[in-house]
Each structure stands twice: as structure tokens, then as C-alpha cells.
């Protein structure tokens, strides 16, 4: 059994699957492409198994809170009630059940737009506190924000020069800065890839 405990074994698995996926993109060869496709399909299935792991984690965490009457245990109890009842409804009556679809539209569907919406207020307060010209760089940030806002505001369309300045900021300085970030990001991911495949990376598979 100690063989299965060795870190090298798992690094090797990562190395092989990773390299296979990369070669699949560059080389057209049936056996390789089919294996890679099958492997990707498997991983999707494994990920579905993992989701149930999330359910278990939820039960353990909130169950313990309720059991020990810990912080917010009443809310935890309510959460567990929702999880259990909705899971059962979903599995046995399908997602078209009125209660399921009711919660789907009005809670699940409404929270996203509300969440995006609440940010408008956060942004407003950030505009006051975070956009201060403490340095030259911060001044550039502030200027870009102000002109982009004017450019994007419907009313900006009738102000003189704003559309031209806005266009220029979008297509020249912003494009230049973004490009460097994207190039760096690509190289970063490529480098991270090699470290992961060779087992240097420490985010997973600790000793």
C-alpha cells in the first residue's frame, strides 16, 4: 500500500494527463485525440461526483452548528431544511415542481441581478474613498475612470469631445496596458503549468 502513498505516483499521473491534453491540441492523431476526449468526459463525470461532496460538507458543517447550538444555529437549521426539501423535490418531482421553480425564479434568479445591483452603491462609495489621486498612477486611474464614465453615460454622447476622448482611451492606452497583462498572464499560466506537471507547485499534493 505504501506505493500508493508516494507523492511521485500522483505527480506522474498529473504529468501524463496534462501532457496528453496539451498534445491533443497540437497534434491530430486519432488514438490521441480520442483518449483525450474520453479523459475530458471522465473528468466531467468526476466533477459531478464532487458536487455531492459539497452537499456532505454542508451537512457536516451546518449539522454540527445546529447540534451544538453554535452561532446562527437557527439559520443553519433553516438552510438544512431548504437543502433537504429542495433536493428531494428536485430528484423525485423534477425541477418543474411549482415550489422548485418558484424559488428558482424568485430567489436564485433575483439574487444575481440584486448582487450586481448592490455594487452600484459600493462603486459610489469607492468613487469617494478609493479614487484619490495619491500618486501619479492613481491620478491616471482617476482620469481614465472619469472619462470612461462620461463616455459611457448616455448623456456623454451630446457633450463635446467626450466620444472622441472616450474612444481613444478605450482603444489606445487601455489596449496597451491590457495587452501586457494578458501576455504576462499567458506566460504565467504556461510557467505554472510546467511547475504543476513537474510537481514543484505546492497548491496541491502537499508532501
Amino acid at each position: 500500500m505504501s506505493f500508493f502513498r508516494r507523492r511521485e505516483l500522483y505527480v506522474a499521473i498529473t504529468f501524463i494527463t496534462g501532457l496528453l491534453t496539451i498534445f491533443d491540441y497540437f497534434i491530430s492523431f486519432d488514438a490521441l485525440n480520442n483518449t483525450a476526449a474520453a479523459l475530458r468526459n471522465w473528468v466531467v463525470l468526476i466533477a459531478y461526483f464532487a458536487i455531492v461532496l459539497g452537499l456532505v460538507n454542508t451537512f457536516v458543517f451546518h449539522g454540527r452548528r445546529v447540534f451544538r447550538k453554535g452561532q446562527q444555529w437557527v439559520y443553519s437549521a433553516w438552510l438544512l431544511f431548504v437543502v433537504v426539501s429542495i433536493t428531494l423535490i428536485g430528484i423525485f418531482s423534477g425541477t418543474n415542481h411549482p415550489i422548485y421553480s418558484f424559488l428558482f425564479t424568485n430567489v436564485y434568479g433575483a439574487l444575481g441581478p440584486s448582487g450586481y445591483g448592490i455594487m452600484a452603491f459600493f462603486i459610489a462609495s469607492a468613487a469617494f474613498r478609493a479614487l484619490r489621486a495619491r500618486s501619479f498612477e492613481a491620478l491616471i486611474l482617476l482620469t481614465a475612470v472619469v472619462f470612461t464614465l462620461l463616455y459611457r453615460a448616455p448623456v456623454g454622447g451630446i457633450m463635446p469631445f467626450i466620444p472622441q476622448i472616450g474612444d481613444w482611451i478605450q482603444s489606445v492606452p487601455s489596449a496597451g496596458g491590457m495587452r501586457g497583462i494578458i501576455i504576462g498572464m499567458a506566460i504565467g499560466a504556461i510557467g505554472m503549468g510546467l511547475r504543476t506537471l513537474l510537481g514543484y507547485e505546492r497548491g496541491y499534493l502537499p508532501e
Partner: protein
């Protein structure tokens, strides 16, 4: 067996960067210590932990909404390397780190990373499985629960590294309003970076996120691999200069070659 059209140059570039990294790793093995500039955001992790210890609070760690199996995989793993280091610091100072997760597949990996951090600090008993919390696979589950943790559980500092989307603004704003000391960044989603840059005390962007694990490890071999990545950037810069000169002379040669 043939190359897929349009991937020859990509393969060469990939091979170049990887060989440059291996070369520098080997050099580091030979005893030549790579010199790396400071990344202030990563150095600030100690300060984040210090503050939490001083005020008797906790540290919130957010890994974003990325999973392991898609393009966001490396970002997620990079975030977990930060979690491991952060856990080690926290364990040394005797404080807790709370990590809400949206991807159930990350639970085992995050839990191992945190546990290892506690073991490295020589304090494995202090590790609590309960601090790894699954908060549904929705980004809004993450946003509301982080807001809740900031509001209810005395989170004094927060570290956000991973793959983020729209929810990150809600989390960092809630943190900023509450006066939480924040270090944050994401690697790939360029549209969300401004929030980290403008609202966090320290921010990481793009490549710095991917380099976090190697940087924090202080392991010469990993630092060597970062120097290898620099070769890739120098190559890119060279290609841009060469390509622009060719463009001035009206040639599209390099443009066409890169598309091969």
C-alpha cells in the same frame, strides 16, 4: 501524425519557455541563487496575519469560483498555494483562517493545503475542518457568505487569490467598508482586476498570481523557474519590436509567421 494547422509556432514558443524554465531550474540546482524582485502584495501576507493576531480576529481566505479542470485550474491551484502559506502563518500566530469555497472539487485540495500549513507550523491539532466551508456552487453564494463572515465573524484581514468573476466587487467592497485589511488579485479575468487594484490594500494582477506559490516558497528551484518565465517575456518584447519595425517597412512577414 500531423500538426494541427496554425499551431507550429505555438508549439515552438511553448517549448522555448519551458526549456528556459528548466534551464534556470537546473542552474539553481547548481547553486546559482536566482535573484527575484519583491512582490509587495505577497510580502504583505505577514502583515495581514499580524493584524488579525493583534486584534484577536480571523483571516478570511477566498479562492474565487474557479474549478480544477478548466482554464481557471492553474489560478485556483495558485490560490491554494497562498492558502497553504497563509495557514502556516496563521497557525504560528494561533489564529484561524476561514475559507469559503464554491467548487466542491476544491474542498479536498483546499483542506489538504490548509492542513499542511498547520503541520508546517508544528501545530496540526489547531487545524479545523470546519473552516473549509462549501457555500454552494454559485458565485452569489460565495459573495453573500463572505459578506456574512465579514459582518459576523470578526474577519480582520482577508486574502483573495484565485479565479474571480462579478462577485469579487461585492466581497472587496464589503471588506473595504468594514475596514478589513485586504490583499487580493486574480489572474485571468481582466475585467475584474480594477476592483482589486482600487479597493484592496495590496493587489496582485495577472502573472503575479501564478507566481505566488513559487515566490512564497522561497525555494531556489521554483524561483529559478520564474526567471525562466522572464525569458518568455523578453522573447515577446523582442517579437513586438521586430514586428513593429517590419510593419513600418510595410511587411507582414512576422505577423504571418506567428499565425502558422
Amino acid at each position: 501524425m500531423i500538426f494541427v494547422e496554425g499551431t507550429i509556432i505555438a508549439t515552438i514558443i511553448l517549448a522555448f519557455i519551458w526549456l528556459a524554465m528548466i534551464y534556470n531550474i537546473e542552474r539553481a540546482k547548481g547553486g546559482k541563487l536566482p535573484r527575484i524582485r519583491a512582490i509587495p502584495a505577497l510580502n504583505a501576507i505577514d502583515e495581514a496575519v499580524g493584524r488579525a493576531a493583534e486584534m484577536g480576529g480571523r483571516v478570511l481566505f477566498v479562492n474565487g469560483i474557479g474549478d480544477l479542470t478548466s482554464v481557471s485550474g492553474p489560478e485556483t491551484v495558485a490560490g491554494l498555494a497562498v492558502l497553504r502559506y497563509l495557514s502556516k502563518c496563521c497557525a504560528e500566530s494561533g489564529i484561524e483562517v476561514v475559507a469559503p469555497l464554491t467548487q466542491a472539487q476544491v474542498i479536498p485540495v483546499a483542506s489538504e493545503a490548509m492542513r499542511t500549513g498547520f503541520i508546517e507550523a508544528g501545530n496540526p491539532e489547531a487545524f479545523q475542518e470546519d473552516n473549509i466551508r462549501y457555500v454552494s456552487s454559485s458565485q452569489w453564494g460565495l459573495a453573500t457568505s463572505c459578506m456574512g463572515i465579514i459582518g459576523r465573524e470578526k474577519a480582520v484581514s482577508s486574502v483573495l487569490v484565485g479565479a474571480f468573476a462579478g462577485e469579487c466587487l461585492a466581497i472587496v467592497s464589503a471588506g473595504a467598508e468594514a475596514g478589513v485589511f485586504q490583499i487580493g488579485g486574480c489572474g485571468r479575468n481582466t475585467t475584474q482586476m480594477p476592483w482589486f487594484v482600487s479597493m484592496c490594500d495590496f493587489s496582485l494582477i495577472g502573472e503575479e498570481v501564478y507566481a505566488a506559490g513559487a515566490y512564497l516558497s522561497r525555494d531556489p528551484l521554483e524561483l529559478g523557474s520564474l526567471v525562466g518565465q522572464d525569458y518568455g517575456k523578453i522573447l515577446t518584447a523582442g517579437l513586438i519590436i521586430l514586428g513593429y519595425i517590419l510593419y513600418i517597412f510595410g511587411s507582414k512577414a512576422l505577423y504571418n509567421i506567428l499565425g502558422m
